[in-house]
Symmetry: C2
Subunit: 125 residues, 2 copies
DNA sequence: TTGACATGAAACCAAAAGGTTTCGTATAAT
DNA sequence: ATTATACGAAACCTTTTGGTTTCATGTCAA
């Protein structure tokens, strides 16, 4: 159990453009919610909720300073994203060859039957 | 306009675990919907809809062979994911130092005021 | 001590997401 | 011809998402 697998994973956290921009803003330095929300056409509360999702995914850390809460980027969990797509990098080089086969095939062959299939690795992504 | 910026982008497409697994299955070889759906605890139609989303994001290509439609992985759009991620790689090395500062700060300083801010790059992610 | 600021929690809402079942159509097999 | 397969489209439903407004609390400033 490496990944915390909590309610919000990195993939989902990063799926929203607002949250992606939040991460970029926070990459410079830590910032309180009010400052962050000034960059978006939505309410402070909405931004606050986005921050909580990022926090649950472990992508930001928070810290109270007086009456404000400052958020800071934690890029750590992004590693999971990298690991995931790096799996596909090996297909990058094959892409041309694969496309070639794709085009050349006349489709007359039946789809290969049993397939062995990886099966059973259901939620391993 | 490099990115097609259509209804479904790569980030969103990849946010769903079912779709991520679909991509993995397809990385081996092309497959028709029925075979793919046998790997999931949901209806064929549901899988079909996931495939359409992947297709809209450009991550899979389809091809009719007789009465079946075979889907194939196109890893190309994953580049966008990689590019995005790579922006944050430079913060990896700083992570320790940053955390250090994070801990050391006594919070007595007010949050830096004007901040100049990148502003205006709204939807550039 | 009184008021202004910073923020999260709560209640609420509309739209999107993820599924299901049903149906129509094209292709393959008998 | 007729039946079985493969599949997408459509209609429908429930839960999640992304937002809003309102409210309570803690902290800073006068």
């Amino acid at each position: 159990m490496t990944a915390t697998a909590s309610k919000h994973d990195v993939f989902q956290a990063v799926a929203d453009p607002t949250r992606r921009q939040l991460l970029k803003l926070l990459s410079d330095q830590e910032m309180p919610v009010t400052v962050l929300s000034s960059h978006f056409p939505m309410s402070r509360t909405a931004v606050s909720k986005h921050l909580r999702i990022l926090s649950e995914a472990g992508l930001v850390k928070e810290r109270k300073v007086g009456r404000e809460t400052r958020y800071r980027l934690d890029p750590g969990p992004l590693q999971e994203l990298k690991d995931w797509y790096s799996y596909f990098e090996r297909f990058w080089e094959n892409k041309m060859a694969a496309l070639q086969h794709f085009v050349e095939s006349d489709g007359s062959e039946r789809f290969p039957a049993p397939l062995t299939m990886v099966e059973k690795e259901k939620e391993q992504d």
